[in-house]
Symmetry: none
C-alpha cells in the first residue's frame, strides 16, 4: 500500500509516517510542491495525503497538476481548521476527501481506507475472496473450515493486494510498488519467493501465474 505524504512540517510528517507504516502503508514523504508533482506523476501510489500549505507553492496547484497528468490516485487534503473555502476548492480540484487539522491519526487511516477502497472498486471493508478472509486487525488469514493462520507483514500486504481484487492480474512491478517505497527496492525475485510462501498457505491453485503478465488471486476455486 504505497502512499505519498506531502507535508512540510518535518516533525508532523515523520510522526504521521511512522503511524501510517504501522497501519501497513509504505510511505514516501516530500516537503516541497515541486517534488510532490514529480513524485505523483512518476510513481505509483495508492493514495496521497496533501497538506495545502507548502513553502514553495500551493497544494491545490500540486493537485491540479496531478489531475491533469496521469496521477489519478485518490487524494486526501489536510486543511487548516474551519477553512471552508479550501475544502470546496480542494474537492473541486479533484480531491477525494479532506481532513481539518488537528485530527486523529485513526480518522486519517479510516478515511484513507475509504477512498482507496472506492478507487479500487472494492466496497466491502473486510477482504474476502473465495474460501478465504483476511483479518485486517489481527493480520491473519481465516479459512472457510475455521482454521486460521497468522501472517508476517510482507505476506499480509502482498496477500491483501491480491485478494483485494480477485481475478485481477498484478504484474511483479505493480506488486513491488505496493510493497516497497523509493528507498527500499530489493531484487524482483522477492515477489516470486513470497508468492511461493503464500501458495503454501492457500494452495497453489489459488494464486495463478500468468506468465509474462503477473499473478492473480483465483477466488473461483
Amino acid at each position: 500500500m504505497r502512499l505519498l505524504l506531502v507535508e512540510d512540517d518535518r516533525l508532523l510528517a515523520e510522526g504521521l509516517a511512522s503511524q501510517l507504516e504501522k497501519a501497513g502503508f509504505s510511505v514516501d514523504i516530500t516537503r516541497t510542491a515541486k517534488e510532490a508533482v514529480i513524485l505523483g506523476e512518476q510513481e505509483e501510489y495508492k493514495a496521497g495525503v496533501l497538506d495545502l500549505g507548502l513553502p514553495d507553492g500551493n497544494g491545490l496547484d500540486v493537485l491540479r497538476k496531478w489531475r491533469s497528468s496521469k496521477a489519478t490516485f485518490p487524494v486526501l487534503i489536510l486543511t487548516a481548521r474551519g477553512d471552508w473555502q479550501d475544502k470546496v476548492n480542494g474537492l473541486k480540484a479533484g480531491a477525494d476527501d479532506y481532513l481539518a487539522k488537528p485530527f486523529q491519526t485513526e480518522e486519517l487511516i479510516a478515511r484513507l481506507n475509504a477512498i482507496m477502497r472506492r478507487s479500487e472498486g472494492r466496497v466491502q471493508s473486510s477482504v474476502k475472496a473465495g474460501r478465504f478472509e483476511l483479518d485486517e486487525n489481527r493480520q491473519c488469514l481465516k479459512v472457510d473450515d475455521g482454521s486460521e493462520h497468522s501472517l508476517t507483514g510482507t505476506e499480509f500486504r502482498l496477500l491483501r493486494c491480491l485478494m483485494g481484487r480477485p481475478g485481477h492480474i498484478f504484474s511483479k512491478e505493480q506488486l513491488m510498488e505496493q510493497l516497497y517505497n523509493l528507498n527500499e527496492s530489493p531484487n524482483e525475485n522477492i515477489i516470486e519467493a513470497y508468492i511461493r510462501r503464500l501458495r503454501k498457505l492457500v494452495g497453489a491453485e489459488t494464486i495463478a501465474t500468468r506468465r509474462g503478465q503477473g499473478y492473480l488471486f483465483n477466488d473461483a476455486v
Copy 2:
C-alpha cells in the same frame, strides 16, 4: 445523474432535493430504511445520500445491506454534528464520505461530485465480436457459454487486432507490423503458426483465410 436521498426530515429532504436538482441531479427521496434498501438494490443510482438517523432502523444497516447486494454506487452519509464514532463506522461499512449536520448544500454537491468522479474513474475496456469477448484487463478470451481462456501476449495482440475489425482482411504483412517492431522480424510463418493456435480456441471457421490476401475474423458464425 440519478441520486437516492434517504432522509426522514421531510422539510430538509425536499429543500435539499430542490437544490440538488438545480445542480443537475435527478433525485429520488425515501424516508424509511426499508424502502431505501429496496430502492438501492433495484434502481440504478449514480450516488446515494444517507442520513443515519432513520425512524425505522439504522442507516448503517441500510448501507451494509446495499454493500452486500449489488448496490455499489458511492454513498455519502449524513451524521449528527461531531458524532465521531458514526463517521468511522460509516466509512468502515463502506461509505465513501460523510458530512456533519448542519452543512452547506454547496459542500454536499462538491463532495458528491468528488465521490462520483472517483467511482466512475474505472473503465473496463473489452472488444466484442460474434460469440467472443476479449478482456483487455485480464488478457483473456470469454465465450458466450461463459467459458474463459487466458491468452499469451502474442496470441492476445493478434486476436485483438482481428477482433477489433471483424470482417476486415488483414494481410500477413499488416499483422506482422502489429506484432513486431523494426528490430525483431521473425519468419512470416509465425503468423500462420499463431493463426493455427487461435483457431484451436475459437474454431477454425471463425478465422477465415483469404488466400493471397490475408485473414479475417468472422463474427457472423
